[in-house]
Symmetry: C2
Subunit: 319 residues, 2 copies
Protein backbone atom coordinates (compact mmCIF):
# COMPACT_ATOMS: atom_id res chain seq x y z
CA UNK A 1 0.00 0.00 0.00
CA UNK A 2 2.90 2.35 0.71
CA UNK A 3 3.67 2.74 -3.01
CA UNK A 4 0.34 4.55 -3.17
CA UNK A 5 1.79 7.24 -0.92
CA UNK A 6 4.46 8.38 -3.38
CA UNK A 7 2.66 11.65 -4.19
CA UNK A 8 2.65 12.55 -0.48
CA UNK A 9 6.04 11.03 0.43
CA UNK A 10 7.70 14.39 1.15
CA UNK A 11 4.77 15.45 3.35
CA UNK A 12 4.87 12.13 5.20
CA UNK A 13 8.52 12.74 6.03
CA UNK A 14 7.62 16.12 7.49
CA UNK A 15 4.87 14.44 9.52
CA UNK A 16 7.40 11.95 10.92
CA UNK A 17 9.68 14.82 11.95
CA UNK A 18 6.83 16.64 13.72
CA UNK A 19 5.92 13.35 15.41
CA UNK A 20 9.48 12.73 16.65
CA UNK A 21 10.04 16.35 17.74
CA UNK A 22 6.85 16.34 19.79
CA UNK A 23 7.78 13.12 21.62
CA UNK A 24 11.42 14.03 22.26
CA UNK A 25 12.18 14.15 25.99
CA UNK A 26 15.15 15.18 28.13
CA UNK A 27 14.84 11.80 29.81
CA UNK A 28 16.66 8.91 28.08
CA UNK A 29 14.22 6.36 29.52
CA UNK A 30 11.32 8.13 27.78
CA UNK A 31 13.18 8.41 24.47
CA UNK A 32 14.06 4.71 24.56
CA UNK A 33 10.39 3.81 24.88
CA UNK A 34 9.41 6.20 22.10
CA UNK A 35 12.13 4.76 19.86
CA UNK A 36 10.50 1.37 20.32
CA UNK A 37 7.11 2.81 19.38
CA UNK A 38 8.66 4.26 16.21
CA UNK A 39 9.26 0.68 15.03
CA UNK A 40 5.46 0.17 15.05
CA UNK A 41 5.14 2.82 12.38
CA UNK A 42 3.82 0.86 9.46
CA UNK A 43 1.36 1.91 6.85
CA UNK A 44 0.67 5.25 8.54
CA UNK A 45 -2.85 4.84 7.21
CA UNK A 46 -4.34 7.63 9.31
CA UNK A 47 -1.87 10.40 8.36
CA UNK A 48 -2.21 9.27 4.73
CA UNK A 49 -6.01 9.52 4.90
CA UNK A 50 -5.76 13.00 6.40
CA UNK A 51 -3.22 14.30 3.89
CA UNK A 52 -4.88 12.74 0.85
CA UNK A 53 -8.29 14.04 1.93
CA UNK A 54 -6.74 17.49 2.22
CA UNK A 55 -5.24 17.22 -1.25
CA UNK A 56 -8.48 15.88 -2.71
CA UNK A 57 -10.42 18.79 -1.20
CA UNK A 58 -8.25 21.73 -2.20
CA UNK A 59 -4.69 21.35 -0.95
CA UNK A 60 -2.51 21.06 2.13
CA UNK A 61 -1.65 23.58 4.85
CA UNK A 62 0.77 23.48 7.82
CA UNK A 63 -2.19 22.45 9.97
CA UNK A 64 -2.59 19.25 7.91
CA UNK A 65 0.98 18.20 8.68
CA UNK A 66 0.58 18.84 12.41
CA UNK A 67 -2.76 17.05 12.54
CA UNK A 68 -1.39 14.07 10.59
CA UNK A 69 1.18 13.66 13.38
CA UNK A 70 -1.57 14.08 15.99
CA UNK A 71 -3.80 11.30 14.57
CA UNK A 72 -0.83 8.93 14.28
CA UNK A 73 0.04 9.64 17.91
CA UNK A 74 -3.53 8.93 19.00
CA UNK A 75 -3.41 5.69 17.00
CA UNK A 76 -0.07 4.65 18.55
CA UNK A 77 -1.50 5.30 22.03
CA UNK A 78 -4.41 2.96 21.29
CA UNK A 79 -2.03 0.29 19.90
CA UNK A 80 0.13 0.39 23.02
CA UNK A 81 -2.86 0.16 25.38
CA UNK A 82 -4.57 -2.45 23.16
CA UNK A 83 -1.50 -4.66 23.41
CA UNK A 84 -1.80 -4.50 27.21
CA UNK A 85 -5.53 -5.31 27.03
CA UNK A 86 -4.92 -8.15 24.56
CA UNK A 87 -1.81 -9.39 26.38
CA UNK A 88 -0.13 -9.40 22.95
CA UNK A 89 3.47 -10.50 22.39
CA UNK A 90 4.30 -9.24 18.92
CA UNK A 91 3.52 -6.07 16.98
CA UNK A 92 5.14 -5.32 13.60
CA UNK A 93 7.55 -8.21 14.11
CA UNK A 94 8.80 -6.54 17.33
CA UNK A 95 8.11 -7.57 20.89
CA UNK A 96 5.37 -5.36 22.33
CA UNK A 97 6.16 -2.73 24.98
CA UNK A 98 4.14 -4.66 27.55
CA UNK A 99 6.16 -7.81 26.90
CA UNK A 100 9.50 -5.99 26.75
CA UNK A 101 9.09 -3.44 29.55
CA UNK A 102 6.03 -4.61 31.45
CA UNK A 103 2.41 -3.55 31.59
CA UNK A 104 3.17 -0.54 33.77
CA UNK A 105 5.57 1.04 31.28
CA UNK A 106 3.12 0.29 28.47
CA UNK A 107 0.20 1.93 30.27
CA UNK A 108 2.29 5.04 31.02
CA UNK A 109 3.72 5.16 27.51
CA UNK A 110 0.19 5.10 26.08
CA UNK A 111 -0.70 7.94 28.44
CA UNK A 112 2.41 9.86 27.34
CA UNK A 113 1.43 9.45 23.68
CA UNK A 114 -2.17 10.58 24.17
CA UNK A 115 -1.04 13.53 26.29
CA UNK A 116 1.41 14.63 23.59
CA UNK A 117 -1.23 14.17 20.90
CA UNK A 118 -3.49 16.69 22.67
CA UNK A 119 -0.54 18.96 23.44
CA UNK A 120 0.52 19.01 19.80
CA UNK A 121 -3.07 19.58 18.70
CA UNK A 122 -3.36 22.58 21.03
CA UNK A 123 -0.50 24.26 19.13
CA UNK A 124 -2.96 25.11 16.34
CA UNK A 125 -4.56 28.54 16.37
CA UNK A 126 -8.17 27.39 16.48
CA UNK A 127 -9.88 24.98 18.87
CA UNK A 128 -11.67 23.14 16.03
CA UNK A 129 -9.18 20.28 15.80
CA UNK A 130 -8.82 19.93 19.61
CA UNK A 131 -12.58 19.68 19.94
CA UNK A 132 -12.87 17.19 17.08
CA UNK A 133 -10.00 15.01 18.29
CA UNK A 134 -11.31 15.14 21.87
CA UNK A 135 -14.80 14.05 20.78
CA UNK A 136 -13.23 11.29 18.68
CA UNK A 137 -11.10 9.86 21.47
CA UNK A 138 -14.16 9.95 23.74
CA UNK A 139 -15.90 7.76 21.16
CA UNK A 140 -12.88 5.46 20.76
CA UNK A 141 -12.84 4.82 24.52
CA UNK A 142 -16.59 4.15 24.55
CA UNK A 143 -16.14 1.64 21.73
CA UNK A 144 -13.39 -0.15 23.62
CA UNK A 145 -15.39 -0.14 26.87
CA UNK A 146 -18.41 -1.57 25.04
CA UNK A 147 -16.19 -4.23 23.56
CA UNK A 148 -14.91 -5.53 26.88
CA UNK A 149 -18.42 -5.26 28.35
CA UNK A 150 -19.73 -7.63 25.66
CA UNK A 151 -16.92 -10.16 25.93
CA UNK A 152 -18.27 -13.66 25.70
CA UNK A 153 -21.77 -12.35 24.97
CA UNK A 154 -23.17 -14.90 22.50
CA UNK A 155 -26.20 -12.67 22.00
CA UNK A 156 -24.14 -9.82 20.51
CA UNK A 157 -25.95 -8.59 17.40
CA UNK A 158 -24.37 -7.42 14.17
CA UNK A 159 -25.59 -3.89 14.91
CA UNK A 160 -23.89 -3.93 18.31
CA UNK A 161 -20.71 -5.28 16.71
CA UNK A 162 -20.80 -2.51 14.11
CA UNK A 163 -21.34 0.12 16.83
CA UNK A 164 -18.29 -1.19 18.68
CA UNK A 165 -15.95 -1.16 15.68
CA UNK A 166 -17.30 2.18 14.49
CA UNK A 167 -16.29 3.57 17.89
CA UNK A 168 -12.97 1.88 18.40
CA UNK A 169 -11.65 2.10 14.82
CA UNK A 170 -13.79 4.00 12.31
CA UNK A 171 -14.36 7.14 14.41
CA UNK A 172 -10.67 8.02 14.08
CA UNK A 173 -10.36 7.26 10.36
CA UNK A 174 -13.54 9.28 9.78
CA UNK A 175 -12.05 12.18 11.74
CA UNK A 176 -8.83 12.00 9.70
CA UNK A 177 -10.78 12.57 6.49
CA UNK A 178 -13.03 15.18 8.09
CA UNK A 179 -10.03 17.19 9.31
CA UNK A 180 -8.25 16.82 5.97
CA UNK A 181 -11.26 18.24 4.14
CA UNK A 182 -12.01 20.94 6.74
CA UNK A 183 -8.49 22.39 6.78
CA UNK A 184 -8.47 22.39 2.97
CA UNK A 185 -11.42 24.79 3.17
CA UNK A 186 -14.00 22.35 1.77
CA UNK A 187 -17.73 23.11 2.09
CA UNK A 188 -19.80 21.23 4.67
CA UNK A 189 -21.18 18.67 2.16
CA UNK A 190 -17.68 17.76 1.04
CA UNK A 191 -16.47 17.54 4.66
CA UNK A 192 -19.38 15.22 5.44
CA UNK A 193 -18.70 13.06 2.35
CA UNK A 194 -15.03 12.80 3.32
CA UNK A 195 -15.88 11.79 6.86
CA UNK A 196 -18.34 9.17 5.52
CA UNK A 197 -15.57 7.75 3.29
CA UNK A 198 -13.25 7.58 6.31
CA UNK A 199 -15.88 5.93 8.50
CA UNK A 200 -16.67 3.27 5.88
CA UNK A 201 -12.99 2.59 5.24
CA UNK A 202 -12.44 2.21 8.99
CA UNK A 203 -15.34 -0.22 9.37
CA UNK A 204 -14.12 -2.29 6.39
CA UNK A 205 -10.58 -2.20 7.76
CA UNK A 206 -11.66 -3.49 11.18
CA UNK A 207 -13.91 -6.21 9.71
CA UNK A 208 -10.99 -7.40 7.56
CA UNK A 209 -8.68 -7.25 10.59
CA UNK A 210 -11.11 -9.40 12.54
CA UNK A 211 -11.19 -11.95 9.71
CA UNK A 212 -7.38 -11.97 9.55
CA UNK A 213 -7.27 -12.59 13.31
CA UNK A 214 -8.82 -15.98 12.49
CA UNK A 215 -7.48 -16.84 9.01
CA UNK A 216 -4.38 -14.60 8.62
CA UNK A 217 -0.74 -15.66 8.84
CA UNK A 218 1.19 -14.35 11.84
CA UNK A 219 4.31 -14.32 9.73
CA UNK A 220 2.80 -12.08 7.08
CA UNK A 221 0.88 -9.88 9.50
CA UNK A 222 3.86 -9.48 11.85
CA UNK A 223 1.71 -9.54 14.99
CA UNK A 224 0.10 -11.95 17.42
CA UNK A 225 -3.16 -13.31 15.96
CA UNK A 226 -6.07 -15.22 17.41
CA UNK A 227 -6.35 -12.82 20.32
CA UNK A 228 -10.02 -11.96 19.70
CA UNK A 229 -11.43 -15.36 20.61
CA UNK A 230 -8.77 -15.87 23.22
CA UNK A 231 -10.07 -12.68 24.87
CA UNK A 232 -13.73 -13.76 24.37
CA UNK A 233 -14.31 -11.02 21.77
CA UNK A 234 -17.07 -11.79 19.27
CA UNK A 235 -16.36 -10.65 15.73
CA UNK A 236 -18.50 -10.76 12.60
CA UNK A 237 -17.47 -14.22 11.28
CA UNK A 238 -18.29 -15.77 14.67
CA UNK A 239 -21.54 -13.83 15.08
CA UNK A 240 -22.59 -15.07 11.63
CA UNK A 241 -21.60 -18.65 12.38
CA UNK A 242 -23.41 -18.64 15.74
CA UNK A 243 -26.59 -17.51 13.95
CA UNK A 244 -26.39 -20.08 11.15
CA UNK A 245 -24.63 -23.16 12.54
CA UNK A 246 -26.31 -26.38 13.63
CA UNK A 247 -26.65 -26.95 17.36
CA UNK A 248 -23.44 -29.00 17.88
CA UNK A 249 -21.25 -26.46 16.03
CA UNK A 250 -22.91 -23.65 17.98
CA UNK A 251 -22.12 -25.44 21.23
CA UNK A 252 -18.51 -25.88 20.15
CA UNK A 253 -18.20 -22.19 19.26
CA UNK A 254 -19.78 -21.29 22.59
CA UNK A 255 -17.13 -23.38 24.35
CA UNK A 256 -14.31 -21.66 22.46
CA UNK A 257 -15.77 -18.28 23.41
CA UNK A 258 -16.25 -19.23 27.03
CA UNK A 259 -12.89 -20.85 27.63
CA UNK A 260 -10.92 -18.49 25.44
CA UNK A 261 -8.79 -21.42 24.35
CA UNK A 262 -6.83 -20.31 21.36
CA UNK A 263 -7.02 -22.88 18.57
CA UNK A 264 -7.39 -21.10 15.26
CA UNK A 265 -7.52 -24.33 13.21
CA UNK A 266 -10.52 -25.48 15.17
CA UNK A 267 -12.29 -22.13 14.80
CA UNK A 268 -11.63 -22.12 11.06
CA UNK A 269 -13.19 -25.59 10.75
CA UNK A 270 -16.23 -24.47 12.75
CA UNK A 271 -16.76 -21.48 10.42
CA UNK A 272 -16.57 -23.55 7.22
CA UNK A 273 -20.09 -25.03 7.00
CA UNK A 274 -21.70 -21.57 7.21
CA UNK A 275 -19.11 -19.97 4.91
CA UNK A 276 -18.87 -17.21 7.53
CA UNK A 277 -15.48 -15.90 6.46
CA UNK A 278 -16.70 -15.24 2.92
CA UNK A 279 -19.91 -13.70 4.22
CA UNK A 280 -17.85 -11.34 6.38
CA UNK A 281 -15.51 -10.34 3.56
CA UNK A 282 -18.57 -9.62 1.44
CA UNK A 283 -19.87 -7.22 4.09
CA UNK A 284 -16.47 -5.53 4.20
CA UNK A 285 -16.71 -5.19 0.41
CA UNK A 286 -20.04 -3.42 0.75
CA UNK A 287 -18.49 -0.83 3.07
CA UNK A 288 -15.66 -0.32 0.59
CA UNK A 289 -18.19 0.24 -2.20
CA UNK A 290 -19.98 2.77 -0.01
CA UNK A 291 -16.67 4.49 0.81
CA UNK A 292 -15.69 4.95 -2.81
CA UNK A 293 -19.20 6.13 -3.70
CA UNK A 294 -18.87 8.92 -1.12
CA UNK A 295 -15.92 10.31 -3.07
CA UNK A 296 -17.87 10.57 -6.31
CA UNK A 297 -18.93 14.13 -5.48
CA UNK A 298 -15.28 15.27 -5.26
CA UNK A 299 -13.52 16.65 -8.35
CA UNK A 300 -11.37 14.03 -10.10
CA UNK A 301 -7.81 14.42 -8.82
CA UNK A 302 -4.85 12.11 -8.28
CA UNK A 303 -5.46 12.32 -4.53
CA UNK A 304 -9.08 11.21 -4.93
CA UNK A 305 -7.99 8.30 -7.13
CA UNK A 306 -5.43 7.30 -4.54
CA UNK A 307 -8.09 7.33 -1.80
CA UNK A 308 -10.27 5.07 -3.97
CA UNK A 309 -7.38 2.66 -4.64
CA UNK A 310 -6.51 2.63 -0.92
CA UNK A 311 -10.07 1.64 -0.08
CA UNK A 312 -9.98 -1.20 -2.60
CA UNK A 313 -6.70 -2.49 -1.16
CA UNK A 314 -8.08 -2.68 2.39
CA UNK A 315 -9.88 -5.96 1.75
CA UNK A 316 -6.96 -7.40 -0.22
CA UNK A 317 -4.51 -7.04 2.64
CA UNK A 318 -1.80 -9.59 3.18
CA UNK A 319 -3.19 -12.75 4.67
Amino acid sequence: MTTLYEPIAADMEKVCRIFDDELFSDLPVVNDLCAHVATYRGKMLRPALLLLSGRACGGLTEEHLTLAAVVEMVHMATLVHDDVLDDADIRRRQRTVNRLEGNEAAILLGDYLISHAFHLCSSLDSQFASRTIGATTNTVCEGELQQIHHRGDEGLTIDQYLAIITGKTAALTGTCCLLGAHYAGADSDTVAASERYGLDVGIAFQITDDVLDIVGSEQHMGKTLGRDLDKHKLTLPVIHALAHSDAPARRELGKVLKNGVFDRDKVRRLLEPTDSVNYTLQIAGEYIASATASLSSLPPTDARDTLIRMALMIIDRDK
Copy 2:
Protein backbone atom coordinates in the same frame (compact mmCIF):
# COMPACT_ATOMS: atom_id res chain seq x y z
CA MET B 1 -9.99 20.17 55.21
CA THR B 2 -13.33 20.44 53.47
CA THR B 3 -14.64 22.98 56.04
CA LEU B 4 -12.06 25.33 54.55
CA TYR B 5 -13.97 25.21 51.27
CA GLU B 6 -17.13 26.82 52.64
CA PRO B 7 -16.52 30.12 50.84
CA ILE B 8 -16.33 28.26 47.51
CA ALA B 9 -18.98 25.61 48.28
CA ALA B 10 -21.47 26.89 45.70
CA ASP B 11 -18.78 27.03 43.02
CA MET B 12 -17.64 23.52 43.91
CA GLU B 13 -21.18 22.27 43.33
CA LYS B 14 -21.17 23.85 39.90
CA VAL B 15 -17.81 22.18 39.20
CA CYS B 16 -19.29 18.79 40.15
CA ARG B 17 -22.18 19.35 37.74
CA ILE B 18 -19.82 20.27 34.88
CA PHE B 19 -17.76 17.18 35.74
CA ASP B 20 -20.78 14.87 35.69
CA ASP B 21 -22.27 16.40 32.53
CA GLU B 22 -19.01 15.98 30.64
CA LEU B 23 -18.70 12.31 31.57
CA PHE B 24 -22.33 11.38 30.91
CA SER B 25 -22.64 8.73 28.21
CA ASP B 26 -25.48 7.10 26.31
CA LEU B 27 -23.97 3.76 27.32
CA PRO B 28 -25.02 2.41 30.73
CA VAL B 29 -21.76 0.46 31.08
CA VAL B 30 -19.78 3.70 30.83
CA ASN B 31 -22.02 5.54 33.30
CA ASP B 32 -21.70 2.71 35.81
CA LEU B 33 -17.93 2.99 35.73
CA CYS B 34 -18.08 6.79 36.04
CA ALA B 35 -20.47 6.47 38.98
CA HIS B 36 -17.85 4.38 40.72
CA VAL B 37 -15.18 7.00 40.03
CA ALA B 38 -17.49 9.64 41.57
CA THR B 39 -17.10 7.82 44.89
CA TYR B 40 -13.35 8.61 44.76
CA ARG B 41 -14.17 12.28 44.90
CA GLY B 42 -12.66 13.31 48.20
CA LYS B 43 -11.00 16.53 49.11
CA MET B 44 -11.17 17.88 45.56
CA LEU B 45 -7.87 19.56 46.39
CA ARG B 46 -7.07 20.49 42.80
CA PRO B 47 -10.36 22.26 41.95
CA ALA B 48 -10.13 24.04 45.32
CA LEU B 49 -6.59 25.24 44.56
CA LEU B 50 -7.72 26.51 41.16
CA LEU B 51 -10.82 28.31 42.45
CA LEU B 52 -9.14 29.80 45.51
CA SER B 53 -6.17 31.00 43.43
CA GLY B 54 -8.65 32.64 41.09
CA ARG B 55 -10.41 34.35 43.99
CA ALA B 56 -7.12 35.39 45.57
CA CYS B 57 -5.98 36.94 42.29
CA GLY B 58 -9.05 38.95 41.31
CA GLY B 59 -12.15 36.76 41.09
CA LEU B 60 -13.74 33.84 39.29
CA THR B 61 -14.99 33.47 35.71
CA GLU B 62 -16.89 30.70 33.90
CA GLU B 63 -13.51 29.45 32.67
CA HIS B 64 -12.43 28.80 36.25
CA LEU B 65 -15.38 26.47 36.83
CA THR B 66 -14.74 24.53 33.61
CA LEU B 67 -11.03 24.24 34.32
CA ALA B 68 -11.65 23.12 37.91
CA ALA B 69 -13.63 20.19 36.45
CA VAL B 70 -10.83 19.56 33.92
CA VAL B 71 -8.06 19.30 36.55
CA GLU B 72 -10.17 17.00 38.72
CA MET B 73 -10.77 14.78 35.68
CA VAL B 74 -7.06 14.65 34.93
CA HIS B 75 -6.42 13.76 38.58
CA MET B 76 -9.09 11.02 38.54
CA ALA B 77 -7.51 9.55 35.39
CA THR B 78 -4.14 9.35 37.14
CA LEU B 79 -5.73 7.75 40.22
CA VAL B 80 -7.43 5.06 38.14
CA HIS B 81 -4.25 4.23 36.19
CA ASP B 82 -2.10 4.47 39.36
CA ASP B 83 -4.29 1.88 41.02
CA VAL B 84 -3.61 -0.47 38.10
CA LEU B 85 0.14 0.23 38.31
CA ASP B 86 0.14 -0.23 42.10
CA ASP B 87 -2.20 -3.23 41.98
CA ALA B 88 -4.20 -1.46 44.69
CA ASP B 89 -7.33 -2.90 46.28
CA ILE B 90 -8.92 0.01 48.08
CA ARG B 91 -9.38 3.71 47.29
CA ARG B 92 -11.54 5.99 49.45
CA ARG B 93 -12.89 2.96 51.30
CA GLN B 94 -14.18 1.53 47.98
CA ARG B 95 -12.78 -1.32 46.00
CA THR B 96 -10.69 0.04 43.12
CA VAL B 97 -11.93 -0.18 39.52
CA ASN B 98 -9.12 -2.61 38.67
CA ARG B 99 -10.14 -4.90 41.52
CA LEU B 100 -13.86 -4.59 40.80
CA GLU B 101 -13.94 -4.62 36.99
CA GLY B 102 -10.45 -5.76 36.02
CA ASN B 103 -7.33 -4.02 34.77
CA GLU B 104 -8.71 -3.70 31.25
CA ALA B 105 -11.76 -1.68 32.31
CA ALA B 106 -9.56 0.44 34.57
CA ILE B 107 -7.08 1.22 31.80
CA LEU B 108 -9.91 2.19 29.43
CA LEU B 109 -11.73 4.20 32.09
CA GLY B 110 -8.54 6.18 32.75
CA ASP B 111 -8.29 6.80 29.01
CA TYR B 112 -11.94 7.87 28.91
CA LEU B 113 -11.33 10.36 31.76
CA ILE B 114 -8.22 11.89 30.19
CA SER B 115 -9.93 12.13 26.81
CA HIS B 116 -12.90 13.93 28.35
CA ALA B 117 -10.59 16.22 30.31
CA PHE B 118 -9.01 17.44 27.05
CA HIS B 119 -12.39 17.55 25.32
CA LEU B 120 -13.85 19.72 28.09
CA CYS B 121 -10.76 21.93 28.08
CA SER B 122 -11.12 22.49 24.32
CA SER B 123 -14.57 24.03 24.93
CA LEU B 124 -12.84 27.23 26.09
CA ASP B 125 -12.35 30.02 23.58
CA SER B 126 -8.57 30.27 23.83
CA GLN B 127 -5.94 27.53 23.52
CA PHE B 128 -4.04 28.74 26.60
CA ALA B 129 -5.55 26.20 28.99
CA SER B 130 -5.32 23.30 26.48
CA ARG B 131 -1.63 24.05 25.95
CA THR B 132 -0.96 24.38 29.67
CA ILE B 133 -2.86 21.21 30.60
CA GLY B 134 -1.22 19.29 27.72
CA ALA B 135 2.27 20.35 28.83
CA THR B 136 1.37 19.42 32.40
CA THR B 137 0.11 15.92 31.57
CA ASN B 138 3.28 15.40 29.47
CA THR B 139 5.27 16.16 32.63
CA VAL B 140 3.05 13.96 34.82
CA CYS B 141 3.66 10.99 32.50
CA GLU B 142 7.41 11.65 32.47
CA GLY B 143 7.43 11.71 36.28
CA GLU B 144 5.59 8.39 36.42
CA LEU B 145 7.88 6.82 33.79
CA GLN B 146 10.96 7.99 35.72
CA GLN B 147 9.48 6.51 38.86
CA ILE B 148 9.06 3.02 37.44
CA HIS B 149 12.47 3.28 35.75
CA HIS B 150 14.12 3.87 39.15
CA ARG B 151 12.27 1.11 40.96
CA GLY B 152 14.58 -0.71 43.32
CA ASP B 153 17.40 1.74 42.56
CA GLU B 154 19.19 2.10 45.92
CA GLY B 155 21.31 4.86 44.43
CA LEU B 156 18.31 7.17 43.86
CA THR B 157 19.26 10.65 45.10
CA ILE B 158 17.03 13.12 46.89
CA ASP B 159 17.19 15.39 43.82
CA GLN B 160 16.01 12.57 41.57
CA TYR B 161 13.21 11.75 44.02
CA LEU B 162 12.16 15.41 44.06
CA ALA B 163 12.20 15.54 40.25
CA ILE B 164 9.94 12.48 40.14
CA ILE B 165 7.35 13.80 42.61
CA THR B 166 7.47 17.27 41.07
CA GLY B 167 6.51 15.64 37.77
CA LYS B 168 3.95 13.14 38.94
CA THR B 169 2.18 15.28 41.58
CA ALA B 170 3.33 18.89 41.87
CA ALA B 171 3.17 19.79 38.18
CA LEU B 172 -0.63 19.48 38.27
CA THR B 173 -1.15 21.37 41.55
CA GLY B 174 1.19 24.08 40.23
CA THR B 175 -0.87 24.29 37.04
CA CYS B 176 -4.10 24.56 39.05
CA CYS B 177 -2.84 27.69 40.78
CA LEU B 178 -1.30 29.07 37.59
CA LEU B 179 -4.60 28.70 35.71
CA GLY B 180 -6.57 30.14 38.62
CA ALA B 181 -4.37 33.26 38.64
CA HIS B 182 -4.17 33.56 34.84
CA TYR B 183 -7.93 33.45 34.26
CA ALA B 184 -8.42 36.00 37.05
CA GLY B 185 -6.34 38.39 34.96
CA ALA B 186 -3.32 38.46 37.29
CA ASP B 187 0.00 39.89 36.11
CA SER B 188 2.84 37.51 35.22
CA ASP B 189 4.62 37.87 38.60
CA THR B 190 1.47 36.95 40.46
CA VAL B 191 0.81 34.02 38.11
CA ALA B 192 4.38 32.80 38.73
CA ALA B 193 4.02 33.20 42.52
CA SER B 194 0.73 31.26 42.43
CA GLU B 195 2.28 28.46 40.42
CA ARG B 196 5.23 28.33 42.85
CA TYR B 197 2.78 28.01 45.75
CA GLY B 198 1.01 25.17 43.94
CA LEU B 199 4.26 23.38 43.12
CA ASP B 200 5.49 23.58 46.73
CA VAL B 201 2.14 22.44 48.11
CA GLY B 202 2.20 19.49 45.67
CA ILE B 203 5.72 18.47 46.68
CA ALA B 204 4.84 18.70 50.39
CA PHE B 205 1.63 16.76 49.76
CA GLN B 206 3.46 13.93 47.99
CA ILE B 207 6.23 13.75 50.61
CA THR B 208 3.57 13.48 53.32
CA ASP B 209 1.72 10.87 51.28
CA ASP B 210 4.90 8.83 50.99
CA VAL B 211 5.39 9.01 54.77
CA LEU B 212 1.79 7.96 55.37
CA ASP B 213 2.33 4.99 53.04
CA ILE B 214 4.72 3.71 55.70
CA VAL B 215 3.30 5.04 59.00
CA GLY B 216 -0.35 5.87 58.16
CA SER B 217 -3.45 3.92 59.14
CA GLU B 218 -5.28 2.20 56.29
CA GLN B 219 -8.53 2.70 58.18
CA HIS B 220 -8.08 6.46 58.43
CA MET B 221 -6.63 6.91 54.95
CA GLY B 222 -9.28 4.71 53.33
CA LYS B 223 -6.87 3.21 50.84
CA THR B 224 -4.31 0.44 50.46
CA LEU B 225 -1.01 1.48 52.04
CA GLY B 226 2.50 0.08 51.91
CA ARG B 227 2.40 -0.12 48.15
CA ASP B 228 5.53 1.98 47.57
CA LEU B 229 8.01 -0.50 49.01
CA ASP B 230 5.97 -3.41 47.76
CA LYS B 231 6.42 -1.96 44.26
CA HIS B 232 10.13 -1.25 44.91
CA LYS B 233 9.56 2.53 44.93
CA LEU B 234 12.08 4.53 46.95
CA THR B 235 10.64 7.45 48.87
CA LEU B 236 12.31 10.12 50.97
CA PRO B 237 12.23 8.35 54.37
CA VAL B 238 13.87 5.28 52.84
CA ILE B 239 16.41 7.30 50.83
CA HIS B 240 17.36 9.08 54.07
CA ALA B 241 17.59 5.84 56.03
CA LEU B 242 19.72 4.16 53.35
CA ALA B 243 22.17 7.08 53.54
CA HIS B 244 22.41 7.15 57.33
CA SER B 245 21.85 3.59 58.58
CA ASP B 246 24.54 1.19 59.70
CA ALA B 247 25.49 -1.59 57.31
CA PRO B 248 23.14 -4.30 58.69
CA ALA B 249 20.08 -2.01 58.61
CA ARG B 250 21.04 -0.89 55.09
CA ARG B 251 21.22 -4.50 53.99
CA GLU B 252 17.82 -5.19 55.52
CA LEU B 253 16.29 -2.18 53.74
CA GLY B 254 17.93 -3.32 50.52
CA LYS B 255 16.28 -6.71 50.93
CA VAL B 256 12.85 -5.15 51.51
CA LEU B 257 13.33 -3.03 48.37
CA LYS B 258 14.51 -5.96 46.31
CA ASN B 259 11.92 -8.48 47.36
CA GLY B 260 9.07 -6.02 47.62
CA VAL B 261 7.83 -7.92 50.65
CA PHE B 262 5.25 -5.79 52.34
CA ASP B 263 5.89 -5.60 56.07
CA ARG B 264 5.28 -2.07 57.27
CA ASP B 265 6.14 -2.85 60.91
CA LYS B 266 9.56 -4.03 59.88
CA VAL B 267 10.16 -0.97 57.70
CA ARG B 268 9.07 1.35 60.50
CA ARG B 269 11.56 -0.34 62.86
CA LEU B 270 14.34 0.03 60.28
CA LEU B 271 13.66 3.77 59.93
CA GLU B 272 13.70 4.46 63.70
CA PRO B 273 17.46 4.65 64.42
CA THR B 274 17.94 7.34 61.76
CA ASP B 275 14.74 9.22 62.69
CA SER B 276 13.99 9.23 58.96
CA VAL B 277 10.25 9.83 59.29
CA ASN B 278 10.78 13.01 61.28
CA TYR B 279 13.50 14.16 58.90
CA THR B 280 11.10 13.69 56.00
CA LEU B 281 8.25 15.55 57.68
CA GLN B 282 10.65 18.40 58.39
CA ILE B 283 11.49 18.62 54.67
CA ALA B 284 7.77 18.67 53.88
CA GLY B 285 7.44 21.50 56.39
CA GLU B 286 10.08 23.51 54.56
CA TYR B 287 8.11 23.23 51.31
CA ILE B 288 4.99 24.38 53.12
CA ALA B 289 6.88 27.39 54.48
CA SER B 290 8.07 28.19 50.97
CA ALA B 291 4.51 27.80 49.64
CA THR B 292 3.01 30.24 52.10
CA ALA B 293 5.86 32.71 51.53
CA SER B 294 5.01 32.76 47.81
CA LEU B 295 1.56 34.11 48.66
CA SER B 296 2.93 37.08 50.63
CA SER B 297 2.96 39.25 47.50
CA LEU B 298 -0.81 38.74 47.02
CA PRO B 299 -3.26 41.21 48.56
CA PRO B 300 -4.72 39.96 51.87
CA THR B 301 -8.05 38.27 51.10
CA ASP B 302 -10.08 35.46 52.63
CA ALA B 303 -9.12 33.28 49.64
CA ARG B 304 -5.41 33.89 50.23
CA ASP B 305 -5.80 33.06 53.93
CA THR B 306 -7.62 29.87 53.03
CA LEU B 307 -4.77 28.86 50.67
CA ILE B 308 -2.29 29.45 53.52
CA ARG B 309 -4.37 27.39 55.97
CA MET B 310 -4.74 24.61 53.37
CA ALA B 311 -0.97 24.46 52.99
CA LEU B 312 -0.50 24.19 56.74
CA MET B 313 -3.04 21.35 56.95
CA ILE B 314 -1.24 19.27 54.31
CA ILE B 315 1.38 18.02 56.75
CA ASP B 316 -1.18 17.46 59.51
CA ARG B 317 -3.26 15.06 57.49
CA ASP B 318 -5.04 12.19 59.13
CA LYS B 319 -2.63 9.43 59.96
